[in-house]
């Protein structure tokens, strides 16, 4: 596969390491009363869709960016590639 890196342009996916669902960005509040349940859900449960999937790829043999790649799990088509950091900020992870 080819991942169109937002900074570097198209790169072979073999340069990247895959982690999984981009929901891993949404780490729950450890101090919430529901933290135990929230972290269980965060760490273990997955939508695992057959279709479009936001997922985390690390450019290990490249610029070491974590990327959020929107890819179709049936066709493997890639629709969008963003820096995970930007996504994290957009999802309110700025402190």
């Amino acid at each position: 596969m080819i991942i169109d890196h937002p900074l570097l342009g198209p790169r072979d996916s073999a340069e990247f390491t895959y982690m999984g669902d981009a929901k891993l960005i949404d780490r729950p509040d450890p101090d919430a009363a529901t933290a135990a349940r929230d972290f269980y859900d965060y760490a273990y449960l997955r939508d695992n869709p057959a279709g479009w999937h936001d997922e985390l790829w690390f450019h290990e043999q490249g610029d070491r960016s974590w990327l959020v790649v929107t890819r179709n799990t049936i066709t493997h088509e890639i629709r969008q590639v963003r820096l995970a950091r930007d996504v994290a900020r957009a999802r309110g992870r700025s402190t």
Partner: protein, 416 residues
């Protein structure tokens, strides 16, 4: 009809006119006591044992395509029980014992061949880990033997001990491990279940569940509504898709695992060998093809196909230990979609919804588990309590912290 050598001769002498369909092609009835969704190895085995061991009646297996079209028809046919952890070893040993008597049990020659599986060792730490595992196997009633490199070379003289990047320092063997003709497992269970009254309904896709007051009462299918007392889901590879119809999210991801077969070759591989410093394992089929595989492609996928980097990675692993295979040709590659669970171990459990039971999360290890998985799932469906060898395969183990993590890779499915 009972299969036998006599029957084969009799039919041959009478123009093969008497062979009957291995299973019927019934129209779905309006209601069954138990519906199994998924006509793969596990689903058919479940139906078989429900009928045979647990005396259940009015059972149907619903298959969206043709039976055996999922992972049971696209794996590398290995059976073994070389597991380490308490939650796993008794279950897989139970499975291996069922394999050992299966052909006589269901009257079908699935070519179960206990030609042995050998895990190569390449470092001292790996040896320590394999000794621990081998001891766990022996203490659990399975078989295991530590082999020296010389012993291994006697069986595989062409193994690379000359310039191997990761020298071979021995191996852990399970002689009772081996291979099975995978399709025959499907057909044997299907035929056995059918002959005990189970309706196997192909081309019948489940599109939804009907629930009444917190309990499933039937399924909507491409062939209409079918009522059911209990429903068991055994659709590994599609588990998340199916269970999303009852709004369940599962502790798993779907990943593609590729497998490969070479052209037919005169026998060179007596057993199954796994490379311990790369991603490669290999055996040779009774037809002569080298059957081999390696790692997952690594990304979520429902496409039954993979990509070149992993093909190359697997062949590199092969060439690392078997440089004599270079001129053998890879004939066909294919991919299966794995339920990769969060700890690498399966789930056989009730769901929060009454009457709905789940079997899945087999990662790439489902084939060898087929008999025990069917047996234990049948037990759960019939008795509403887990089979003694499958008590650990619970949904809630992640929430309570009772993971069964053989490889110690944690909650990242593609690392298991």
């Amino acid at each position: 009809m009972r299969y036998s050598g006599f029957q084969v001769i009799k039919q041959a002498l009478t123009g093969h006119k008497g062979w009957t369909p291995a299973w019927r092609d019934p129209e779905p009835q309006s209601h069954y006591d138990i519906i199994i969704i998924g006509g793969g190895g596990h689903g058919l085995a479940t139906a078989y044992y429900l009928a045979k061991e647990y005396g259940q009646k009015r059972i149907a297996v619903l298959e969206k395509g043709w039976i055996g079209g999922g992972n049971v028809g696209r794996n590398t046919t290995i059976i073994r029980s070389n597991y380490l952890l308490d939650g796993n070893e008794p279950f897989y040993e139970f499975s291996l014992k069922l394999w050992e008597g299966l052909e006589q049990d269901f009257n079908y020659n699935a070519m179960i061949s206990q030609r042995g599986i050998l895990n190569l060792i390449h470092s001292d730490a790996q040896r320590d880990a394999f000794i621990r595992r081998g001891n766990a196997m022996l203490l659990g009633g399975a078989d295991a033997e530590m082999l020296t490199t010389a012993q291994i070379k006697a069986r595989y003289p062409y193994l690379n001990t000359k310039d191997a990047r990761f020298p071979i320092k021995g191996g852990l063997a399970q002689h009772r491990g081996g291979t099975v003709r995978h399709d025959a497992v499907v057909w044997g269970y299907a035929r056995g279940a059918d002959s005990r009254g189970v309706d196997i309904i192909q081309n019948c896709e489940v599109t939804g569940f009907r629930q009444e007051s917190g309990r499933v009462v039937g399924v909507e299918t491409s062939r209409g509504y079918i009522g059911a007392g209990k429903i068991g889901c055994a659709v590994a590879g599609s588990s998340s898709r199916l269970m999303s119809k009852v709004d369940m999210r599962l502790p798993m991801e779907s990943h593609v695992l590729q497998a490969f077969v070479s052209e037919g070759l005169k026998p060179v591989m007596p057993g199954v060998v796994t490379f311990g410093a790369g991603h490669f394992y290999c055996s040779q089929s009774d037809k002569g093809g080298l059957v081999f595989g390696g790692d997952l492609d690594g990304y979520n996928s429902y496409a039954q196909r993979g990509n070149l980097p992993v093909v190359e990675d697997v062949c590199e692993g092969g060439m690392a230990i078997f440089p004599a295979f270079a001129r053998a040709r890879l004939l066909r590659m294919w991919g299966g979609v794995m339920d990769m669970s969060m700890d690498g171990s399966p789930i056989i459990d009730r769901t929060p919804i009454g009457g709905l039971y789940f079997n899945g999360g087999w990662c790439y290890g489902g084939f060898k588990a087929t008999p025990a998985s069917g047996f234990c799932f049948a037990h759960l469906l019939a008795r509403d309590e887990p089979h003694p060898t499958a008590t650990a395969y619970r949904f809630d183990r992640f929430e309570t912290g009772h993971m069964i993590d053989e490889k110690g890779m944690g909650n990242q499915p593609n690392l298991h």
